[in-house]
Assembly symmetry: C2
Homo-oligomer: 204 residues x 2
């Protein structure tokens, strides 16, 4: 199909498609003349993925990383998850005290090398930000985070499709990046439901 | 203290402090002369909160909302949580099919009016983004999200300080906004720990 049809099918404006082509987020179409190229279903699908990531608040650099993993998936499933996680983790400096974060890793049942150093550093940075704001997570609440986020992650991993490596890659990479807004939205709904139990229903 | 000392104490550059003053995120100091103002411990604390929010990726508009809730907290604890949640929820259009999101609210044990419409809409938008990317959350995994995020939210609410309304406001508002990066970071660590159990430890 031509770029105009690709635009119609995907709902992405032609100018935006050209931008994604320049940014190498979308592979070039098959050239049929110096000014025309043909695009395929794969381009429609890829545009769906890019839009979903952008809508989810992932920046162009993050989209490029996710697309890179989709295009050249590591063979080891562990590396695959690590690459997907790295794609959505804000870059943080490693120059931070990791003690508290490493203790949490241990409480989650992980050996010291069970987790990429960048991910431990991300936890340490989140804890440091709370600390700077003078906010203390109560022990009971931290216990609940460790227990329930660990169990949730376990369920996610257990559901990784065994049908094909492509399916597994898609599930892990997109599930990591795209599910984050859902997780945060469900937590907020859960909080309001818990509050309604505690304080009665919403006032009129 | 003068602005230079406030800068030293808070670690925030003077130019940035002036920006926050212009943006009304930080209250004016007590004027001692046309060119000088005196700042207090409350300013140091407020700067800590602002920096923590900015570091957590909250935009200036979101920071303004959070600061607004801190300054004029609603009396009803339910409104307080709603205002805090609204401050960190990306603005979404309400023009979306809410059926699936409302079903999730029900599964979380909430009555139809237990949750602000904006929060239901945020769940619907997160689901729509997954749908656009052709990503299906397996039923088992959605069950795990509902169960574990509900339980986690319940633990958060149960730990709301009863010591003073100020403490409660601080806990709810900051806990909502600042804990999001921690939640996401802990989920990623949980995934890597689950993967290490499943596939062995990280390859060298």
């Amino acid at each position: 199909m031509r770029i105009s049809e690709l635009s119609m099918r995907s709902g992405v404006p032609v100018a935006t498609i050209k931008y994604y082509l320049r940014e190498k987020l979308l592979p070039e179409g098959q050239r049929s003349s110096p000014t025309q190229a043909a695009y395929t279903e794969a381009h429609v699908q890829r545009l769906g993925v890019i839009r979903a990531l952008v809508d989810a608040g992932v920046g162009i650099a993050g989209v490029r990383k996710v697309v890179g993993v989709l295009e050249e998936p590591p063979e080891n499933p562990y590396d695959l998850l690590g690459a997907a996680n790295a794609a959505v983790t804000p870059e943080v400096s490693a120059d931070i005290d990791l003690t508290a974060a490493q203790a949490i890793l241990e409480r989650m049942g992980g050996a010291p090398d069970a987790c990429a150093p960048d991910q431990i550093a991300a936890v340490a940075h989140a804890l440091a930000a709370l600390d700077r704001a003078g906010f203390v997570v109560p022990d009971d609440v931290m216990d609940a985070y460790v227990e329930h986020l660990g169990a949730l992650a376990e369920a996610e991993l257990a559901a990784t499709p065994q049908t094909s490596i492509e399916d597994a890659v898609r599930y892990v990479v997109l599930g990591t990046a795209l599910v984050e807004p859902l997780i945060l939205a469900l937590r907020r709904v859960g909080e309001q439901v818990a509050a309604s139990r505690r304080f009665g229903t919403l006032p009129d």
